[in-house]
């Protein structure tokens, strides 16, 4: 009984218990190997983060938008055409900011099959970067510049939606990411 004081409880395991333990052990080993294995196959998410400040990142983002802005979309979000940004060796740097007024900026136009380094940070709250419909999700923190490298393989319209609760305007946070040939 689970409410009785056991007399002699240090007993050897019976056969079924031992078989089960072996199964569990093997399974745990498989799982334990799986993650480092994915690690070697480059299945990890980005490991690149830079320290920044909300002020510095805001300035970088402003300059970026100013340089490549080609207009505004119907929600008033600046559209940035990032198709011709030099790719360099590591990819073209583009900057996403999540603002205190619950907006993602900018609305991106990317080029298919071009490698991009998407920088993401916030000027105040924590936010979520959720790329749809791929359903890829990252955490955005203030004072941290998180860099995710991606190469769009498919043209079309995608959405970046905030999926970390960031205050009363949370549900208004989304922006468009267009991929063109």
């Amino acid at each position: 009984m689970s409410i009785e004081t056991p007399k002699n409880w240090w007993k050897p395991l019976n056969k079924e218990e031992r078989i089960w333990l072996y199964i569990v052990g093997v399974w745990a080993v498989i799982l334990t190997i799986m993650m480092p294995y994915g690690h070697t196959r480059d299945h990890n998410i980005s490991n690149e983060t830079w320290k920044t400040t909300t002020k510095a990142y805001t300035a970088v983002s402003k300059a970026f938008i100013k340089k490549y802005k080609i207009g505004e979309d119907e929600r008033g979000v600046p559209i940035v055409d990032a198709r011709n940004i030099p790719e360099g060796k590591r990819g073209a740097d583009i900057f996403l900011i999540a603002t205190r007024a619950w907006q993602f900026k900018p609305h991106f136009i990317l080029k298919k099959d071009k490698k991009y380094r998407i920088h993401m940070s916030s000027d105040f709250y924590e936010h979520g970067f959720s790329l749809q419909p791929m359903n890829l999700n990252y955490q955005i923190l203030p004072n941290r510049d998180f860099v995710v490298t991606m190469t769009p393989k498919q043209s079309g319209k995608f959405m970046i939606v905030c999926n970390e609760y960031c205050g009363p305007g949370h549900h208004n946070m989304f922006t468009t990411l267009e991929v063109k040939e």
Binding site: M1, I3, H43
Partner: protein, 527 residues
């Protein structure tokens, strides 16, 4: 030593000796738990109906406020108050001992109840809507953080008191030998609670100081990553407390419903110990897509350390059914592989609640949890509705249902009241189980389609139309689960206050293993 021998009654069914002052404490903690469950349940139905796009009930500010209220009242107040009742029961009745420092225990309860009321005041009156995670720079009011701190301090004191009570039971000769398995499980829960609640202090004391203006905002802004780590060292470990308590209660229910005996106590106890070993670092699985941590760090923390706990759970996953099966076979239910299960007492809510909670926790909660905490897969889950889908399987379909199932025994055996309606009790676990299963499935599959959690209106981005059917399943399930909760709350509250009294048999009960005269004299002299 003071004479406590007249403060006991004997439980007719189990033979446990119940210390009456401890019984009052169990009563007050259990009743508090159910009251907060009611608040949480009302919030649950309102937010669920808001997330169902066809209904979309609440305005935005109330939606976020009520999620905050739902999270705190359910995950923290209902669960923890109930666990405090479990700690007191495990350290008194099960050991057939007195519960020491009764006044201190009441003081702890008062701390906790003030804390819980302050938090609810902050949410509903002051309009705090920061979610239970309260990631800075989202800012609550000072009372919000103060409430959490008071509540946590009360719970921490209760954990210490649990250790003290076990010590007294030994010292005064009430109990000798190994702890019964249930108490051992609760001991594990209390040990994890100490670590957890200290992490809670590391998280919420600085946030409190920031909310009253002592710590500057710039510090908090720079510490968001650090806050997340400490918050989850607290928040995830708290789930290990729930886990240990729930498993202990499963063993208890096995005993109460069909007289199950743990097959191998050594194995079960080792499994409990694995929970302690694995608590703290496994929490990193909440930070798998955070900037700033390396993959190596994440992998180390989510592989072997987390899997130690998983192995623990898998051991219980065989030893609990094995205990039940053995007990049932002894009664002659030996036909086929599963007669022991199919001919179980399915109209006993303790049994049906236990089995349903076992299945939902193990098969759905466990499997989804393992998927999500895989470093490379987490990017597909983080912060979408699959996450609430997962933990409504663990902490709701699993823990909360197990607590309800055991409450059907606690009320007559410990609180000495007959259930006001056996018929309703009989069907309650099925109703709640079905409803919460639909909630879990709806959330999980909507999450699979990318629907974010904690989101007031997913129609705005205009891309989640495909998930409407899933969210409708969640909504209908929520109504069913809500009815299930109301039935439970109705039975519990009405029985406790108006149920027929079960007369108690007072009995003189002295320590069965008296300490030698001289020794006990010295003790009274020093204390």
């Amino acid at each position: 030593m003071k004479d406590y021998s007249h403060q006991f009654r004997t439980c007719e069914t189990t033979g446990l000796k119940i210390h009456l002052p401890a019984q009052k404490l169990i009563w007050v903690n259990a009743v508090s738990a159910v009251v907060f469950l009611l608040v949480g349940a009302v919030m649950a139905i309102l937010i669920a109906l808001t997330r169902w796009p066809a209904v979309h009930l609440l305005p935005q500010h109330l939606f976020y406020r009520f999620i905050t209220a739902h999270g705190m009242n359910m995950l923290v107040f209902w669960i923890v108050f109930f666990e405090m009742a479990g700690l007191i029961f495990g350290a008194s009745a099960v050991l057939k001992t007195r519960f020491p420092a009764i006044k201190f225990a009441w003081f702890n309860w008062i701390l906790m109840i003030i804390g819980a009321l302050l938090v609810n005041y902050a949410i509903f009156v002051q309009g705090v809507d920061v979610m239970f995670t309260a990631y800075p720079p989202l800012k609550g009011t000072p009372l919000y953080y103060l409430g959490i701190i008071l509540f946590a301090v009360g719970a921490l004191f209760y954990s210490f008191q649990f250790f003290f009570a076990v010590g007294i039971a030994k010292k005064e000769g009430w109990h000798q030998g190994t702890l019964p398995l249930f108490t051992f499980g609760m001991l594990v829960a209390a040990i994890i609670a100490v670590f957890t609640l200290l992490e809670g202090a590391v998280t919420f004391v600085p946030t409190f100081l920031w909310s009253v203006g002592i710590i500057p905002e710039s510090w908090m802004l720079d510490s968001t990553a650090l806050y997340r780590m400490h918050f989850w060292a607290f928040g995830h470990s708290a789930q290990q407390i729930n886990l240990a308590a729930m498993v202990a209660i499963w063993y208890l229910l096995g005993t109460l419903t069909v007289g199950a005996k743990p097959v191998n106590q050594k194995l079960s106890r080792i499994a409990f110990l694995l929970y302690i070993i694995a608590i703290n670092l496994g929490s990193i699985h909440h930070l798998l897509v955070d900037p700033g941590l390396t993959s190596t760090y994440k992998i180390v923390n989510t592989t072997y350390l987390a899997f130690a706990a998983v192995i623990g759970s898998l051991i219980h996953a065989i030893s609990i059914p094995a205990a039940i099966e053995t007990a049932q076979r002894k009664k002659g239910l030996t036909n086929g592989l599963f007669e022991w299960l199919t001919k179980g007492p399915w109209s006993d809510p303790g049994w049906s609640g236990m089995i349903i909670s076992f299945v939902i926790f193990g098969f759905i909660g466990g499997v989804t949890g393992i998927l999500m905490s895989t470093e490379q897969l987490n990017v597909l889950h983080h912060n979408n509705l699959r996450v609430p889908g997962h933990f409504h399987a663990t902490v709701v379909g699993g823990t909360a249902l197990a607590f309800m199932a055991v409450a059907y025994y606690i009320i007559p055996l410990v609180l000495q009241r007959k259930l006001i309606s056996k018929t309703l009790a009989k069907i309650q676990p099925y109703i709640f189980g079905l409803g919460i299963l639909m909630v879990i499935m709806g959330m999980t599959f909507a999450g699979l389609m990318g629907v974010p959690r904690r989101h007031w209106n997913i129609e705005l981005p205009g891309i989640f139309g495909g998930a409407d059917a899933m969210l409708a399943i969640m909504g209908v399930g929520a109504i069913i689960a809500f009815i299930g909760l109301l039935i439970f709350i109705g039975i519990a509250v009405l029985s406790v206050f108006f149920g027929e009294k079960i007369p108690s048999k007072m009995e003189v009960h002295n320590p069965p293993f008296p300490v030698k005269e001289g020794v006990s004299d010295r003790k009274t002299a020093t204390t």
